[in-house]
């Protein structure tokens, strides 16, 4: 699919770039032309196959063009999420970047401003468009990053074969084509968000790329037919629709149409478990929503779609993928075209924990296949919390850091809402030394990174014990029982000690 995309010039379809200030429309043919000029610029600077550039910025036209230019030049990209990474020489060194393009203020050598990418193309207008690049299935086109056990993102090279097989399967399921407009507001640093640009170029539909700030405004401006979102997005939208309908007395479907526009064909969700009630809500309103399943390491594994949809499942397994459930109920994924067989950047042992010798991925998720081949996910086999934004947080490291305080005997971490982490702490003294616990919360938040941020600590009103049922006989915290006991405090953002 990618080779076919690279072999032809798009003759239809439009890229809509939405920011709060409004939407700009750029024909895909023009996007293609610009990417050819930028590719010529990369080539003039000696970049080609085997080189790698970083892109660290909010969604923009320049992001799209530079990514395509790199793809056409066989220059690898590293999609770096703003907030998670800072544009520094150290970042360039760590990931072997020849150049780093960013929209953040930075004057370090080798770091270029993404915003001016298209300003200086005049000298290149006579440059030849690059000859169509061709890729072998096992060639890597981009590095994608995934949360690591230490909080340092792991880097994983994504092969063209894995991109092709996912996009072909998606096209078979959803038949995107002229008339469609796919809305993308999640960061383009996530490879799957760039899929929809590639799909537009290949299949001649429109695609809207917007900043996340403009996501809801863009819905009414561009009237997309498909919205790509994480469960948290759709849960927020549902809550908004319900409340607005209550307030105005309007029909739910009417309010939903008002929010999403009047052309929705379907809604796409994945990356984290979706609330079944939210899925049912949109389906009832005539906005079909299809949940799927996949990891960075596997790409899309299963997906519900119009021709094969089963409530509660994440759909049937895609062609070219095989799901194996082991004796412990853990899902393993084997692929005809694996994303890769190991991480390119990780801590020692990380690759071996996830990838089998033949590239089979141990997902760490529990699940089963029903007799008709629909995959059901039951939860995590290890101690990982998947936030609503799809990012994973390993709780053990955070809990251990908190427990470094002598004022804290035990603690367990929960995620009651979207991306909010809340710890329930068993105090080491009675009464609890709340000042020391608060100081430890501050210290832990300083020591750990972004998604590991603990918003609040709920101090248990009595220490966890075997007698009160909150510790096992091996003195381990009983997570379910602790959650049940402190459910109200965990769920109420006003309760507990707040992070400074």
């Amino acid at each position: 699919m990618i080779n076919e995309l690279l072999a032809s010039t798009p003759d239809r379809g439009t890229l809509h770039i939405s920011r709060l200030a409004g939407t700009r429309e750029v024909p895909l043919a023009e996007v293609w032309r610009l990417s050819g000029l930028v590719a010529a610029g990369l080539r003039a600077r000696g970049l080609g196959a085997g080189d790698r550039i970083g892109i660290l910025g909010a969604n923009s036209l320049e992001w799209v063009v530079l990514d395509l230019a790199a793809l056409r030049s066989k220059v690898e990209t590293a999609g770096l999420e703003p907030g998670k990474f800072m544009p520094t020489r150290e970042l360039m060194r760590r990931y072997g970047l020849s150049l780093l393009f960013t929209d953040r203020p930075c004057d370090e050598p080798g770091v270029e401003q993404l915003g001016t990418l298209l300003d200086d193309l005049t000298d290149l207008t006579g440059a030849a468009q690059p000859a169509p690049a061709t890729y072998a299935p096992d060639e890597v086109t981009t590095i994608k990053f995934t949360s690591g056990s230490t909080g340092t993102p792991k880097g994983l090279g994504a092969t063209i074969g894995s991109v092709d097989s996912s996009l072909n399967a998606v096209q078979d399921m959803f038949g995107h084509g002229p008339g469609d407009n796919l809305l993308v507001f999640l960061p383009l640093s996530l490879l799957q968000q760039r899929y929809w640009v590639y799909s537009a170029l290949r299949y001649g539909h429109d695609v809207t790329v917007c900043t996340y700030e403009a996501a809801f405004a863009a819905l009414t401006q561009v009237r997309p037919t498909v919205v790509m979102g994480v469960p948290g997005f759709f849960e927020g939208a549902r809550s908004q629709i319900e409340r607005r309908a209550r307030r105005t007395g309007l029909d739910l479907a009417e309010v939903a149409r008002d929010l999403f526009g009047d052309r929705i064909r379907y809604l796409w969700t994945g990356s984290a478990p979706a609330d079944p009630a939210t899925l049912a809500f949109f389906n009832r309103l005539g906005l079909p929503i299809y949940e799927g399943y996949g990891l960075n390491e596997t790409c899309i594994v299963a997906k519900n779609h119009p021709a094969a949809h089963r409530e509660g499942s994440v759909g049937r397994v895609l062609p070219g993928k095989q799901v194996i459930v082991d004796d412990d109920g853990v899902i393993h994924v084997r692929a005809e075209h694996p994303v890769n067989r190991r991480y390119a950047y990780c801590e020692p042992g990380d690759s071996e924990r996830v990838f089998g010798p033949d590239g089979t991925v141990r997902t760490g998720d529990l699940g089963y296949l029903d007799p008709d081949g629909f995959l059901f996910i039951l939860g995590r086999a290890d101690d990982t919390i998947v936030l609503d934004n799809g990012k994973k947080v390993i709780v053990r490291q955070i809990e251990e850091h908190l427990k470094a305080s002598p004022a804290i005997a035990e603690c367990v971490l929960y995620c009651p809402a979207q991306t909010e982490l809340v710890a329930v702490v068993s105090p080491a003294s009675a009464p609890a030394d709340t000042a020391a616990i608060s100081a430890q919360l501050t210290a832990t938040n300083r020591a750990l990174s972004g998604d590991q941020y603990i918003h609040r600590v709920v101090v248990a009103d009595e220490p966890f014990s075997i007698d009160n049922g909150l510790l096992t006989s091996q003195y381990k915290p009983r997570r379910k029982q602790i959650r049940a006991r402190y459910l109200r405090e965990i769920g109420d953002p006003r309760k507990g000690i707040h992070a400074a």
Binding site: L20, A21, E213, A217, G232, G236, P416, P493, H498
Partner: protein
């Protein structure tokens, strides 16, 4: 006739609309009147970035503010309910 103003010269309607729309996106039940004006929306109320966008989009709509007059930086600068009201107020349609 001019609409009644809350403290600080902010039209009462936008203050009320802001409270109502904020309460609508929070993940717990709270009466709009009970929301504090000067607390951090993320730290205290657990407002996620996407729900903040949803809140502001619907607030603009309810108050007639053209969201295109705001920038991504304006949104980043809205940490409290008061910030939101103060940043939106100059953009209220004439006669509001």
């Amino acid at each position: 006739m001019a609409k009644p103003c809350a403290a600080g010269g902010v039209p009462a309607d936008i203050e009320a609309a802001a409270r109502e729309n904020l309460a609508a996106v929070l993940t717990f039940d709270v009466a709009p009147a009970d929301l504090a004006s000067d607390v951090d929306l993320t730290g205290t109320y657990g407002l996620t970035s996407l729900n903040k966008v949803l809140f502001l989009t619907s607030l603009c709509r309810d108050t007639g503010v053209d969201i295109a007059r705001l920038t991504e930086d304006d949104l980043a600068g809205m940490h409290t309910l008061r910030d939101c009201v103060d940043i939106l107020s100059p953009h209220l349609p004439a006669g509001t």
